[in-house]
Chain length 217, copies 2
């Protein structure tokens, strides 16, 4: 039954996968700090569009590495995104990943303030970051309203994230919300257009976490 | 700041998204039970390739609906996939979603049996299904070795799933593992080629769960 299967040790599959991705990208060159992020998004989706649609603000990955090494909090907009982040690697730097979407206080705040849980959870993240003074990475793979709220909070001086990962997926307000973020002066990694998702948000976090683990400067 | 944003009530965004997907699919027609699955995969990825690469065995969705309505267990091969499945809808039918990948007994079994945790967790799922006699839906979005093991267990008469969702993503043994599954006589939904992922596995589960909730026969 296994005749069609390539004999690759489980521990070597990721390495072999990245070799295939590199081969298929051919002559294309990328910024050395951005390349692992791009390749991990392709690895998690088998979608080479991520070689074209990812936009990095200047120095975004370097700033994210500093934040990770300073014990950053990562806040996601889905529990699925949270589940995908390598908690072991993050914890080795004293960081943790949080998602507030299912928190009762977030549901109450959303109702009281007439908004979405995604918006309320970004407000909670901003408040937590102000209280703890820990660097904050916001990883948005689902809700464009979360990105819009991040922009509003930054404009009001109530939020100053170390990195915004702006990769919500979808068909309504997703493109516009990403454009709003790209107009802001904040370290960001954005998947332009409709594509993205919780898997892509987690893949971007993990690419940066593994660079931090591997001593990339 | 919101001038670029379409004014859509949060509760209407999903409906509007599916309208856009329908519009962009143009004249294409699908089996009425398969269409919601295809569209939800596009919704979760903004990738229209899922209109072409999903393969359904005859009656797969109908059999899955019966399994859901009989209190099926869904077993995923990642915690990310588990996080994405609508547990509320599943629980309303008496079902539950499980992932064994982080279980200590699975790690021990994998070590003892010289295999991967993905394989050991599929063996655990098969054993649980035999013990409980509950219908079993296997949702594989990550590990081709899990699919290969499912085929081996079925060939040995040790596993008879109500549905296998075969959508691992990747570059090594993914295509071959999906082909092995497609040769088997089992209800299946497969994303042919390299694409798939935990998000796609969860989207397929949710499409079927929402059809069950909405009374689709």
């Amino acid at each position: 039954m296994t005749e069609k299967l390539e004999q690759v040790l489980p521990g070597d599959i990721e390495k072999r996968s990245f070799e295939i991705i590199t081969q298929e990208l051919g002559d294309r060159t990328f910024d050395p700090l951005e390349e692992p992020v791009i390749k991990r998004c392709i690895h998690t989706s088998a979608d080479f569009d991520y070689a074209d649609n990812l936009v990095f603000s200047p120095g975004a990955v370097r700033k994210a590495l500093e934040a990770i090494r300073s014990g950053a909090l990562i806040v996601t907009d889905t529990n699925m995104g949270k589940a995908g982040v390598s908690k072991k690697t993050l914890a080795s730097f004293g960081g943790e990943v949080l998602c507030f979407m299912a928190d009762p206080d977030v549901a109450e705040a959303a109702k009281r303030e007439g908004t979405t849980r995604a918006v309320a959870s970004m407000r909670k993240a901003a408040a937590l970051s102000r209280e703890t003074e820990r660097p904050l990475i916001l990883a948005v793979g689902n809700a464009p309203t979360a990105l819009v709220e991040i922009c509003s909070l930054m404009d009001a001086g109530e939020l100053s994230p170390a990195l915004v990962i702006g990769v919500p997926v979808g068909f309504v307000n997703v493109v516009a919300a990403k454009e709003l973020l790209l107009e802001r002066d904040v370290p960001s990694i954005v998947a332009k257009g409709r594509k993205g998702g919780s898997n892509i948000a987690a893949a971007i976090c993990n690419a940066i976490l593994y660079m931090a683990r591997d001593g990339v400067k």
